[in-house]
Symmetry: C3
């Protein structure tokens, strides 16, 4: 099938090694909803896969929201009377609450306290905090450091600009035989957090690269979107409403490098093609299936009732379920290359199933057709059929135009790949045709 | 919600104490399908809640049935030659088989035997027997007493009249914002049986009183019907066919004071609003859910195929499943005030859910609306949402016009009350409206 | 019901004894897809039940197939230089691969080997092999005998004709009150194999005979078809397409005499009348239900997507699941008369349910009708209803025109027979009518 190249262990490991180098390169950049850190992140991605980049001006409406002002942070610190920096942005980009307004004041510790965020239960970790939509400012620090602060006064500086500008996102599109689409979304707005979200970005890039390089054109068009959480997906949705009717399946990717097992979270509808394919691919593995809930990442927007897209989410440990989540402990040491490799393998199989699934129609539906005379069946009778022959019988029997190959595989309790192979042989023998052969798109031009 | 006042333990206990005094007052009255005992029962109920009373003439057709003649029993006995009463109606109203025709004869024991009913296995209990539709007469007595009877002769007297008259039933209506209705039916035809049916009458009266006294008008109109079993519900149905299309939910109440756990019996359809609300309210308690079966109380008529109303039944020990059932041992000692109180609490929560349930529509369905700017969400991001915020997200996500609040609570695995509170907040913020706001009824006039 | 006569143990045993004598008579005949052995088999069947016989000319198309040439085998052997027969068709009809082309040659063992079939794991059993659609020839023999063969040369003779002729099948039709049909198919093409397929033939004959002799005409028309596997059912289907719309239920029978438990294999749809009736009848027995799969006997053709008939399969040990399957060890010793008897009993109950099932409509659906005045209910109230009264209440309550008696029995968790008896009583009392009373067929003429 489409992504067979990614399925062997060594191929997945090689691809995961590339993902790892991208994660390393992206870790130091200061990302937020908007700003130059995001642009630099997209630059690095663009070195690996073709990208179409979009800049949406501040103030542009996106449904109930609007694109915020652009935030750029040059430096920030809390320094004591001697100028010694008790908190220093240069040491860690999590030290400044995201979207903090500029400040330059001298304050006592008492005045400063309402602006400080720390984790008493994890005194060595810096928490990740943001205030995108309310004008305020703050510092995040280790609780141990916070407790050491004297009464002050302190010089408090956030050298930032929060001004009209743009929100940046980018797409990588792999044209398919059909203009029907599979969407893959991963968020790009988190600063120095490695599992959330650099692992998702890097795995998405590797999947996209494999699809771009595949020897055959996919059946469906694959669209990868790299944008900030929430406002990024809303911005994309608001500019692509006319395209949504083409979305046949989709995934939100993130948190794919930690030591936890894989989790697939169902789409809102719970029985979409994506859901069924994921359940099929993950069966028999240690992965877990999660019911839909309206909390998480950008599936919140794609699965809002006004869109209700067939999009699930693939993660390892779900958000909020591991202690390092949204803290400085989500650093490069949390990412395991072997976990990236396994995620990539699973994702490649899932993508292959999504792409190859189709609805077959038996062209000789009255009785079984003679497989023997078409070279598809042994010529001596009396023994039991082999696995391939069994798959042929299942496909012929079920191919009444109401079931796709995935549904047939589920009913027959056979691997999708075996059913697909049987269907391909029957198509070749003229006994089957695909009902939902998607509309042929324009001839493949140069990659965008 | 509507009946919060009845939910605290002390409030339920106070209300159950009132129910108990009503049961005590009603126990001595000689009830049957018809007659003055029923009228006296309705008099007592009318002292507590507003009642509309109906008298249906004997001979009036009610579908396949007709209203029987009215039966009134003044006295009855079996006396020996010395005039000593071996069986005396004044000692217990169960001694006479219901609807016995008048008799005044002298008979030997041998002649009398076919007219005697007793329980060999429970020799100290008087059975409850009736013969509504075949003209006969009989006495019910303790088996121990029956065995002591000598050969006779006996003076056998049933001083009754069975003559054209009326069947009496009464309704108490709590007008709602809508003319859509919830029906509550409890039978009033059993003589000196405390659990079956005085407990049902008393609990229904308390629920009705609480609804009449609630500070806010219910969304739905609540109609309580007090009438005899079978022929009473048939009489009411035959006179209210045009009203049945408005019935959104309903309950038959009975047997609510014995020591057994609560049982909810599903409606015929098995998935009506009443069924779903009862399953939700009873989950996690020791109550048991029963499948529908066409045997029991007046749900037999409401759930006959020609009506198929969404009515379930709430009882403690179901009919025929406890030894005291339909015997003189179903007396005041079988009723536990604490059991009445718990039944009332559960019923109040169920009634509140039935009344508050509605279908919300998200008015900002594309993506999540910004809850923060409406004061419904914390302003600092990065942490996990609280329970209320989670409920807000669930309601918004599911409010596509196809699901009511109860269905949302079930999918979200949240208590109905939490989902309802979130919906109310979203309605207040203008993000949600109720699709099935029932038609406004006329302004609330004086109680009937 | 219809086949009550077959249900008692002694009646089933007597019928099974008749089945056994038929199996004995048929065992020596040399059957294949076509030929005189099949005709002799039909002759024997025709001595027991009325038969309509059909001869379809070779070359006649049947969907993707065509009727093959007719094969008749007179003699066959492998003889050594001394003329001693190492393999001799007269000793066992399995020795020649079915549809072998004629051969008369002298060959070394080395030349002969590709034409020999044996079972190394079961060296004392002769395998059953055929080559219906590819021109070749072969011998089947005990592996022990094969290993004893010397280097040759051998005289190899298959004295057969493979020439234009006919395919033979036969039907036995029991006309019903309706022209709607139940199909029963059993294959007739296996040579000396006792369980597969003589047990199926013999049980089908006994069921047909019982239906022909039943004191009342069945509601449905019963059609028994005796034909070769695959091409036989395809031939019948191709000549009866206009009749298929009348098929309400059906069974493929086979393998009913071995020591294994009964297995019912569902139809392709999985919830047809046949499936529901079989599940009902087999519940509580040691029988097992199998999901549909497109491998097995002639259900493969009846359940192909172009027909999708409501036909399941009743067997004991399914094909390929017992070691003697398709070998000479499937001989008369594998058949147990008690197993034939139990299969017949079960089949008779299943046939009775299929025939008696109907959709009742309550003619007094508003409330319960008065059963007492119609003599259907005890006249003294207060006690619990008996089993018959309970069945009456269930039928009345569920008879809204959407459910047949089988569905009512399933919901009520009552045996079908009890529900059917209640329905018959209610029909007699004028409270119920059958909605789907099948169209009256022509008056029953002489049996065909």
């Amino acid at each position: 099938m489409l992504l067979d190249a990614l399925l062997p262990d060594d191929a997945a490991s090689a691809s995961a090694a590339d993902a790892w180098t991208l994660i390393e390169a992206l870790y130091p950049l200061c990302r937020s909803l908007t700003g130059d850190g995001v642009r630099q992140t997209l630059d690095r991605i663009g070195e690996r896969i073709p990208l179409i980049r979009t800049e949406v001006p501040s103030g542009t409406p996106a449904f109930d929201w609007e694109i915020p002002r652009e935030w750029n942070l040059r430096d920030a610190w809390i320094a004591d009377a001697e100028g010694r920096r008790a908190v220093d942005f240069r040491a860690h980009s999590l030290h400044v609450m995201g979207y903090s307004v500029p400040v330059r004041r001298t304050m006592t510790l008492e005045e400063l306290q309402p602006h400080l965020h720390s984790l008493p239960d994890q005194p060595d970790w810096i928490p990740y905090r943001t205030s995108y939509y309310r004008e305020q400012w703050g510092f995040c620090l280790r609780h141990r450091d916070r407790e050491r602060l004297g009464p002050g006064p302190y010089e408090v500086v956030i050298d930032a600009t929060l001004a009209p500008g743009h929100l940046s996102y980018a797409e990588s599109v792999v044209p398919g035989q059909s203009t029907d689409e599979v969407l893959v979304y991963t968020h790009t707005c988190h600063p120095a957090l490695a599992n959330d979200n650099l692992s998702g970005i890097a795995v998405a890039v590797e999947l996209a690269r494999a699809l771009h390089q595949a020897p055959t054109k996919p059946r469906l068009t694959w669209r990868f979107i790299f944008g900030p959480g929430t406002i990024g997906s809303l911005a994309w949705l608001s500019r692509n409403e006319e395209r949504l009717g083409r979305v046949r399946a989709g995934l939100v990717l993130g948190l794919l490098g930690d030591p936890g097992v894989l989790h697939y979270k169902h789409s809102r509808r719970g029985d979409t093609l994506t859901d069924r394919a994921a359940a099929h691919v993950l069966r028999g593995t240690d992965a877990r299936l999660l019911e839909f809930e309206p909390y998480g990442y950008d599936e919140r927007q794609f699965c809002s009732p006004g869109f209700d897209l067939p999009m699930g989410r693939l993660t390892r440990s779900p958000n909020s379920t591991y202690p390092e989540y949204h803290t400085s402990a989500d650093d490069l040491s949390l990412i395991r290359p072997a976990q990236l490799a396994k995620a990539l393998q699973t994702l490649a199989r899932l993508a292959s199933v999504l792409d190859a699934n189709r609805t077959p129609l038996n062209l000789s539906p009255k009785g079984e057709p003679r497989l023997g005379k078409r070279g598809l069946y042994g010529s001596v009778g009396g023994g039991a059929p082999g696995a391939f022959e069994h798959a042929l019988l299942w496909v012929l029997n079920q191919a009444d135009g109401t079931r796709n190959l995935l549904a047939i595989a589920e009913r027959a309790r056979l691997p999708f790949e075996q059913v697909e192979q049987a269907a391909a042989a029957l198509e070749h023998a003229g006994l089957l045709r695909t009902l939902d052969r998607p509309h042929e798109s324009e001839p493949k031009g140069p990659s965008p």
